[in-house]
């Protein structure tokens, strides 16, 4: 059976095609102001990458914040359900899934089939690490890709509130004026974001193995802050931003049987 998952996230639309357990295509587009158009482009790219036509797909499921407006799909699965299902497929022993996206975060406790047992969601501004770190990296004139790595050079914890992406730049004014090294500011930012995510994780419990999915998992500074804060290792899959789309494709397969 060949299925597709379309994950309409706040920042990016991701599309994944799955045939049995083989991934045939992974594509993404920036969601921008027209996520439906972005989804159509990502879907077309996935068709061309896989050499399939739309008729070859047995079922297409959507997930993500924009799942209700997703083109091509008849049904959907929540972000919580998709993250859990996709992660358990990749790592059957994981029981706690942390999913941090562009503008939201969630923590999920799940069973061995990927069924959600408990979850916590935080959709407040800057709950997703990406928007916040983008703003601070810009303010410090550091490329975003370097910003996470920079924090690994710091050994000093300085407190930072880091609540609002809109006021993010004002958060770093004082440390910049105090000539705080950029690596210490970077670590403070990642620690502050991680502490809010960890507050959610503690609500569902840190169970057995822990995985981090979502695009923010590429940020080594955030992974490090999370591991220090939770005092546990975190598993990061190879394509963390596609785990939601994978979960949607798997759900499509299961519901079509």
């Amino acid at each position: 059976m060949t299925t597709a998952g379309i994950d309409l996230g706040a920042k990016f639309v991701k599309v994944l095609f799955l045939k049995d357990d083989e991934v045939l295509a992974r594509t993404q587009e920036r969601a921008g102001f027209e996520p439906v158009e972005a989804a159509k482009r990502a879907f077309a790219a996935a068709l061309s990458e896989s050499g399939l036509t739309e008729n070859d797909l047995d079922a297409i499921f959507a997930t993500g914040a924009g799942r209700q407006v997703s083109p091509f799909t008849k049904d959907s699965v929540t972000e919580v359900g998709a993250a859990a299902r996709g992660t358990i497929h990749l790592y059957p022993s994981v029981r706690t899934v942390i999913d941090v996206g562009g503008e939201e975060g969630r923590a999920v406790k799940c069973g061995e089939t990927g069924k959600v047992e408990d979850f916590a969601v935080n959709e407040q501004c800057a709950a997703g690490a990406r928007s916040f770190t983008e703003s601070i990296a810009r303010a410090l004139e550091v490329p975003l890709e370097e910003f996470g790595k920079l924090s690994l050079k710091s050994e000093k914890s300085i407190p930072m509130n880091a609540q609002c992406a809109v006021f993010a730049e004002s958060e770093v004014v004082s440390p910049v004026h105090a000539k705080t090294p950029k690596e210490d500011i970077s670590r403070a930012v990642h620690d502050a974001i991680a502490s809010r995510i960890i507050s959610m994780v503690r609500r569902v419990g840190i169970n057995n193995e822990v995985a981090l999915v979502g695009g923010v998992a590429y940020n080594p500074g955030f992974v490090d802050a999370l591991e220090r804060g939770m005092e546990t290792k975190v598993i990061v899959p190879e394509h963390p931003e596609y785990v939601g789309a994978l979960g949607a494709a798997l759900t499509a397969r299961e519901r079509s049987k």
Partner: protein, 93 residues
């Protein structure tokens, strides 16, 4: 399943927890109408169960939306907690 909706900010943790395992046994979902702000809704979850949830537009501001029910002193019982016969709802603050 315990569903936690809310956030942590500089002043504390603000989560509303709904134990949705109880929602299936409940026919009229009385707490949905009990909240003066109308924060609750009934949704069909990924497992085809009808469960209560906090509406998306309220999830980012539960601290402020619940403020009228939570005076600083002499806090009365919360309408949502009182209305749920299964004790399925709790607040972290």
């Amino acid at each position: 399943m315990k569903a936690n909706y809310g956030y942590m900010d500089g002043s504390g943790e603000y989560y509303i927890t709904i134990d949705t395992d109880h929602c299936n046994d409940c026919t009229d979902h009385p707490r949905v109408g009990a909240c003066p702000v109308g924060m609750f809704e009934i949704i069909v979850d990924d497992y085809d169960d009808e469960v209560a949830a906090i509406k998306e537009e309220n999830r980012k501001k539960v601290k402020y939306d619940c403020a009228p029910c939570k005076p600083v002193t002499g806090r009365p019982p919360l309408p949502c907690v009182e209305a749920c016969p299964a004790d399925a709802i709790s607040h972290s603050w």
